[in-house]
């Protein structure tokens, strides 16, 4: 699910999160499932949504933020239209995927786990994509690209960007 990082209005938050808050009201030890549900609803963990829920349920916002940043499964930014999964498994590592990662970070201007400003790409490093014979490998959305060099990887992403409708 993708969505833009446009500011959420108060009524947006109320309609989307109040039913969720009601489900958890008065219960203890709820932070992780609550955050998971918030991410399912919003697509990511939005700081304003955390603020809203924290006030609604009297949970300190800092505590929720601590948990959200601890677990890798929580995203603090909306996911891009294309998730770029760069393999860091053994075969790809040996074939220089670290350099590809550095090049992609430089090119996209994001760190691992972050989304580009235009909301198109989210860069992720993953353990193994299961096609080691093509190493080094990355997936852009559902498509697999193999035998990459840093330059080729950038070309792949630029081709995707160029194919976007205006």
């Amino acid at each position: 699910m993708t969505m833009s990082a446009a500011t959420l209005t108060r009524s947006d938050l109320e309609t989307r999160l109040l039913p969720l808050a009601d489900r958890y009201r008065g219960r203890k030890g709820i932070t992780i499932p609550l955050l998971a549900d918030m991410q399912r609803e919003m697509g990511y963990i939005d700081p304003e949504a955390v603020d809203f829920i924290a006030k609604e349920l009297d949970i300190p916002a800092a505590e929720m933020f601590g948990v959200a940043t601890f677990y890798a499964m929580f995203r603090l930014q909306p996911e891009g239209k294309y998730v770029v999964r760069l393999c860091r498994g053994t075969a790809c590592h040996v074939q220089g995927s670290a350099r590809i990662g550095e090049q992609l970070q430089r090119h996209l201007g994001v760190q691992e786990g972050e989304t580009t400003k235009d909301g198109l790409f989210t860069l992720q490093y993953v353990a193994c994509l299961g096609c080691c014979s093509l190493a080094p490998v990355m997936m852009v959305g559902e498509e697999v690209h193999g035998r990459l060099t840093p330059e080729k990887a950038v070309d792949v992403l630029e081709a995707v960007r160029a194919s976007q409708p205006e």
Partner: protein, 662 residues
Amino acid sequence: MSDITLVIDGVECRAAKGDTILQVARRNDIYIPTLCWMEGLTPIGSCRMCVVEVEGNPKLLTACTTPAENGMKIHTKTEKLKQYRLQILELLFAGRNHFCMFCSQTGDCELQRLAIEHGMDKVRYPFLYEPFHNDATDPNIQLDHNRCILCLRCIRVCAEKVGAHTLDLEKRGWGTNITADLGKMLGESDTCVSCGACAQVCPTGTITLRDFVYRGRRNDCDDQVESICPLCSLGCRIKAYVRTGSVARVEGLSANSPDGGQLCHKGRWGLPKSTERDRLTAPMIRTGSSFREASWEEALNLIASKLGSASKAGRAGALLSELSTDEELSVVSSFFRDTMKMDKVDGFFGNMLRGFVKGFQPFADQGIRPFTGAHNILESDAIVVIGANPQEEAPVAASYIRVSTIIERAKLINLSAGKNPFDGITDADIRAALPGEMEKVLVSLREAVEGGPEPKEPAMAESARVLREAKKPVFVIGSSLAEHPSLVTEALNLAVASKAFFDDGLGVVPMLRGGNCLGALNTVIGESDWLSESELDFLYVLSTGMVDEDKRSLEAMTRARFVVVHTPFMVHPLVNMADVLLPAPAWFERSGHYCTLEGERRRMNMIVPPKGNLKGLSVIMDELAGKLGLELQPASAAPCENVYEAKSPSTSARTVSLKEVR
């Protein structure tokens, strides 16, 4: 209590069930090194410095979290433990910037002390040199993550004692950091109350207070004096560090008291900052638009001549700060009231105090003590804040309210004309303008609690339900309510109807603003607000210079023909009003007693000796009496004593009808 016995380092120790090994060891003077542990905070056993060996158990156990058990044989100082602790210290040192020569806290640092204690002469691990940021966004507090050892003391004190829960951890592993709110800088936080408790508990140089760094390490200070903070009616205990004759640092005192050794922003910054202000060191007499220095003899002669004629005409008055000690209030009251027979004596907060007194009266007449110690908020399961802004009026009481609500899950109801001071944690929030609407709200809530008709408005119905179910509700009444004594009475009626009964009195916490308001009640608070009405020929003002004067007092000073200002600091605009200025000792140069809201008479101790050409208040009053041909009479009113003594238990309180009172 001694129901189990265990042996620590060969010493037989008795203990109660539930004590931790560390508690038992400390009680028996057996030293176990600790780092993340802190008295008064929940132990988490994360630093592993306090590991001990227990015979029959192959694992090392943390003394701070392991409960003592009957028959345990514990060793705290074996070679194996020493090596483990040393290794932990080396890892901590290798992790971030712990190069002591660049740190303001060197010499005051618990990590450094432990390293020295364990003979750490090298670090066997490669230093990481990971650059973390140094958060200098807050005007008072600096947070350098490079020096953090993640002991979580700051997080725990912020959550458990201050109730702000501004701080928490973000991320994990190497990247773990202390963070504020939703990953904000400390200066941008909207929950931080700037109390500085985090810096007081920080064992390293991570969280430091700009006002205190490089002014003297705790260990280098010449003296440590225990005293109290005079800035609000809670009278928190403080410890002041003295270096080369000035106050270098102020800290909260006792981790075991309900406040957990915290201070609020007023005490933490207001007290030490005042030591740098311009002082008045000798008597001064006005000459045109400026002052000239004078001898005490000359100044007192002038005062006596003006006072003599003014008091004969009934046009002399005295205005005193409620931040004065009992002793000072007694002396001044004995001079003006008992020797000069003047009735025009009042305090700066006179109107507020008269309002409270009038509102309390029907209950005092029943022999009930109409309020309780603020720390009882922590025991309460439902808190009603009425027209109060505790974060300004008595900030530590606001901490109690937040802790009770967030940690103990007490219900919180706010009734106010303006903004909700506890937005985000209240269960019911009701807007009511003072006095009319507020009175209606209080009356209809009381009727609903007593079994009358259920209010229709949801927040009101919820409040009534909470109060009916509450076992120990407490009512925090703001000073704004004192402008309408009937509202105070009606708030107390609601407290009685909700059965807010505590051992020391009715479950009401009035936000009295000055440190010694209760002491001032008997001694200096006048019968009526003469200050606003009178045209005076003579006005004596005793100020502590710590609280800004209100409009009422400044206007009265402007109208008066001759004004004597007795103050420690060159406070404007107060000083501009004076015809004669007399120097007084500052809060850190005085000693005496304060009658606190907590129900205790607490002692303020002199921290540094007074500087300048000062005279004691009793000497001044005695000399003035002599110059007027009178003899100083003993004070007829004793401060503090019998102020709202509980003659009957609070449970016997009954509600009063406002018609009866009016």
